[in-house]
Amino acid sequence: MQIIKNELLNEYVYYEKLHNNMDVFFMPKEGFTKKYAVMATNYGSNDLEFISPHTKEKIRVNEGIAHFLEHKMFEQADGSNAFDEFAKLGANANAFTNFNMTAYLFSSTDNFKEGLKHLISYVQEPFFTEENVEKEKGIIAQEIKMYDDNPDWKLFFNTLKAMYKVHANSIDIAGTVESIYKITAEELYSCYKTFYSPSNMALFVIGELDKDEIMDIVKSTVKDDYMFEGDIERIEALENDELRQKEIIEQLDVSVPMFSIGYKDKVSVLGAKDLMKKSIVTELILDILFKKGSMLYDKLYREGLVFGGLSCDYTEHIDYGYTIISGETRDLESVKREIFSAIENAKEKGIDEADFERAKKKKIGSYIKSFDSIEFIANNYLSYFFKGMDILEYYEVLKAIDIKSLNNRLKEHFDLDMSVISIIMPKTEN
C-alpha cells in the first residue's frame, strides 16, 4: 500500500491496486461525523464506440446509454432497489454520470461498513431485463424534458454543439428521448461487461475510519468478474480544429438574452501531459481577465452591460478542452466587443504582475478551502485520477507556474478563429 502525502494541507491518501486491477484510495479525515465512499467507472456519455476487451468486437451504442445504465444499476435481482438497503442503514445514496465518468456514492454517520459492502456489491451485480429497461424510459424521458426547460443547460450544450463537429461532447449526457427508447437490456450488458469491469473502476473511501478494516471489507467484497489487462480501446471520432458553426441562437421562455462564448482547445495542445498545469494556467487567466476585480468586469458592471457578472470556466480532459464565458445582457454586440478587446489588449500588453500574484493567492486559498468537503475531495480525486492526475499535487503545480506560461497560453488559446457563441433569446410573441 502506497501513501500519498500533502504537507501543506496535512492530508494523506493511501492507495492500492487490487488483484483484480481495481484502484482503491482511502483518506482518513479525523473529526468528521460523516463517512463517504464513491465507486466510479472511467466511463461516461462520451464513450459511444469501443472494442470489447473480452470479445474484441467493435461496438457502437445508443446515445445516453451510460446515464441509462447508471439508472438501471439500482435494480436488484430479487426485485428490490439498491436504495432500499441504504435506507435501512440510514445512509444517503446517489449516483451521477458526466461526459467521462459514472459514479455511485453514499454517505452515512452510522452503519458505514455495511453500506460500503452494499455499495461494492450492488455495483458489481447488474440485473437488466427487457421489462425493467422499458419501465425506466418514461422516467428518463421526464429527466430529459426537465433539462429541455433549463435555459442554462441549453445555452451550455449549444456552445458545445457549435464547437464540436464530431466529438461526442456535443451530445447530451442523457441522450435524446428518441435515442433512449432504442436502448435494450442486451446493449446495457455489453457496456457493463466492458466498462464496469474492476479493471476500469476505482473506489475512494474517506472519513474517520480504520484503514485496515476498510481494506479488508473492500478486498473481501470485490469480485473478479469481467476483469482484463490493459486499457479499453475507445474509438473516437477524429475532431480537428474546425468548428461546427460560429453561432447558435435559440429562443426560450427567458427574461433576458443569455450568451455563452466558447474557446475550443486546438488538437496540438491536447493530451495527458501537463494537463493540470494547462488547466490551472487557463483558470488563472480567466480570473485575471474576467472575474470580479478585473477591468473588464468593472466596465461591464458600471455600464450595466452584464447582469450578475460573467461566469467563466475551463474544462480539461485528455481528448478535449474548452473555455466558456457566459452571462446575461441586453446589449450583446457591446459585450462581445468588450470581451474580445479585453483579450486582445491583454495579449498585446501581457498579464499584469500584481494581478497574477493576487490570482495565485486566491487559487491557493480556494484549493485549501475545498478540503473541508469530504464529498468534493472524493469525487474530484477520482475524476482527476481518471485523467491521469493527482489532486494532492495541485499546490506544487500551482506554485511553480510563472507569468510567462500565462502569456503564452493567452495567445495560443484565446484565438478568435477557435471561438463560438451560443445565444438564448427571449421568445417573441407573434
Binding site: L8, L9, K29, G31, F32, T33, K34, F83, F86, A87, K88, L89, G90, A91, N92, A93, S107, T109, D110, K135, E136, G138, I139, Q142, E143, K145, M146, D148, D149, N150, P151, L252, D253, V254, S255, V256, K292, G293, M295, Y297, D298, Y301, R302, G304, F307, G308, E328, R358, A359, K361, K362, K363, I364, G365, S366, I368, K369, F371, D372, I374
Partner: protein, 407 residues
C-alpha cells in the same frame, strides 16, 4: 454564537439582520446588501474590495436575502482560510473587511453613491424578471403566492420592480441607518479559532448603535381551506405540479417532528412513498418530493410531469396521502425515515455553512434545541403520532405550470 470545530481549514463568520416581511420595506432591504458590497470608505469601489479580498488568499464576503417564515433575513457571510494553513494570517483582516462592508459604507451628502444604487437597482430588476428561467422554483413560488395571498408570507423576499422607481440613494441610506439600529442582529462564528480571544475580537469590531428594536409578529398558521386549483400557461416542455397544504402545526410544538416524519415518509428521498409509486412503479416523473415551510406550517409536494398526465399524477398523490392518513405506514417506512432524518441531522456537523444556518434558524425560532435533542425527539415518534398529524393537513392550492394551449 460560537461553533468551534477544529478539524476545519476554513472559518466562517455570518452577521444576520432580521426584519419583518413587509411590503413597505421588502425591496429596500433586498437592495441594501448589494449596495453595501459596492463601496466602503476604505475601499471606495468594487474593484478595490475585490482586490483586497484576493490578497487575503481569496477570502470572500457573500450577501444574501432570505425569507424565513414571515421574516426577511439579510445575511453577510465571510469565509476565509484558517491562519495555520497560510504563510501569513488573514482572519483579522477578513473580519475587518466584513465589518467595513456592513458598517462603513461610502456615502455622499447623506446618501449612498448614486451610481452604485442605480446599477444595483437595474441588476435587481433583471434578477426579479429572470425568475421565470427556473421553472421549478417559479412554480413553487407561484403556488405559495396563491395560497397565502392575504398573508405576508406571499411577499417575495427579492422585492418588487414597481417599488424601484421610488428608491434613491438618499432614502435607501436613511433606511439602511434605520435597519442597522432597529433590527435584531446575530453573529455566528464557525470554524477553528481561539475561543478565548474570538469574542473580544468580534465585539471590538462590531459595535452596532442600538435603538428600540423592530417588532416582528409571529406567523399565523391555522387554516382550514377548501382546495383551489390554479393553472398557468407558459412555453414549457414539462409541466410543473405543486400542491400546497396547510399543516396547522406550530414549529414550537414538539409535535412538529411528527409532521417532519410525515413529510419524509411521503416524499423525502428514494425510499419515500411518492418516489416509489409515482416514479418507480408508474414511471410518471423523474423528480417528485415533499418539503416543509417550517415557520409557516406549509407542506409542499412538487413534481415535474408530462402535461397530459396531470390527472393521473394528482390521483396517485392523493392516494398516497390518503394511505398515510389512514395509517397505511409500515414499521420499515417509519424506521427508514427516522434514519434518513437522523443521518441528515448528524451530517450537519460536516458543513460549516449548514451548521451556521441551522443554529441561526433555531435562534429565529426561539428554540434552544440542539441537534442531539431533535434526534431524541425524532427517535420517539410512533406511527400513530404520524397518522394523528395527517388529520390536520388540508390541501389548500394545486398549482400547475402547463404548456400553451393545453386544456
Amino acid at each position: 454564537m460560537l461553533i468551534p470545530r477544529d478539524n476545519y481549514k476554513t472559518n466562517i463568520v455570518t452577521v444576520y439582520l432580521k426584519r419583518p416581511l413587509n411590503k413597505d420595506e421588502v425591496t429596500k432591504n433586498s437592495l441594501i446588501p448589494s449596495v453595501l458590497k459596492s463601496a466602503t470608505v476604505g475601499y471606495p469601489n468594487p474593484v478595490a474590495i475585490a482586490k483586497k479580498l484576493q490578497d487575503l488568499y481569496g477570502s470572500a464576503v457573500g450577501v444574501s436575502v432570505d425569507k424565513m417564515g414571515e421574516k426577511q433575513v439579510l445575511s453577510f457571510r465571510m469565509y476565509c482560510v484558517g491562519d495555520m494553513y497560510l504563510p501569513e494570517p488573514v482572519f483579522e483582516d477578513s473580519l475587518a473587511m466584513l465589518k467595513e462592508i456592513i458598517l462603513n459604507p461610502l456615502t455622499k451628502n447623506d446618501g449612498f453613491i448614486k451610481e452604485y444604487v442605480d446599477i444595483e437597482k437595474t441588476i435587481l430588476e433583471e434578477d426579479i424578471k429572470s425568475k421565470i428561467n427556473n421553472k421549478g422554483h417559479y412554480a413553487v413560488e407561484k403556488c405559495i403566492e396563491h395560497m397565502c395571498v392575504d398573508e405576508p408570507f406571499s411577499i417575495s423576499e427579492d422585492g418588487y420592480i414597481e417599488d424601484l422607481d421610488k428608491i434613491d440613494e438618499k432614502n435607501l441610506f436613511a433606511h439602511y441607518k434605520n435597519i442597522i439600529e432597529t433590527s435584531p442582529i446575530d453573529i455566528v462564528v464557525a470554524g477553528s479559532f481561539d475561543r478565548e480571544k474570538i469574542i473580544e475580537t468580534v465585539k471590538s469590531k462590531f459595535n452596532f448603535d442600538r435603538k428600540e428594536l423592530v417588532k416582528i409578529e409571529k406567523e399565523e398558521i391555522y387554516f382550514k381551506p377548501v382546495a383551489a386549483y390554479v393553472r398557468e400557461e407558459m412555453d414549457v416542455n414539462q409541466g410543473k405540479l405543486v400542491l400546497g397544504f396547510r399543516t396547522n402545526m406550530d414549529y414550537k410544538d414538539e409535535k412538529y417532528y411528527n409532521l417532519m416524519m410525515f413529510s419524509a415518509i411521503l416524499g423525502s428521498g428514494a425510499h419515500s412513498k411518492l418516489f416509489l409509486n409515482v416514479r418507480e412503479k408508474h414511471s410518471l416523473c423523474y423528480s417528485i418530493y415533499s418539503s416543509l415551510e417550517k415557520l409557516k406550517g406549509l407542506m409542499l409536494i412538487s413534481a415535474g410531469i408530462e402535461i397530459s398526465d396531470y390527472d393521473r399524477v394528482l390521483e396517485l398523490i392523493s392516494k398516497e396521502l390518503g394511505d398515510m392518513k389512514e395509517g397505511n405506514i409500515s414499521t420499515e417506512e417509519l424506521t427508514n425515515s427516522k434514519k434518513f432524518i437522523i443521518n441528515n441531522l448528524k451530517s450537519l456537523n460536516d458543513n460549516l455553512s449548514a451548521l451556521t444556518n441551522y443554529y441561526y434558524s433555531m435562534s429565529v425560532q426561539d428554540s434552544n434545541r440542539t441537534i442531539e435533542d431533535i434526534i431524541d425527539i425524532v427517535n420517539k415518534v410512533e406511527i400513530k403520532d404520524i397518522v394523528e398529524i395527517g388529520k390536520q393537513i388540508y390541501l389548500d392550492t394545486v398549482y400547475f405550470l402547463t404548456g400553451k394551449d393545453s386544456k
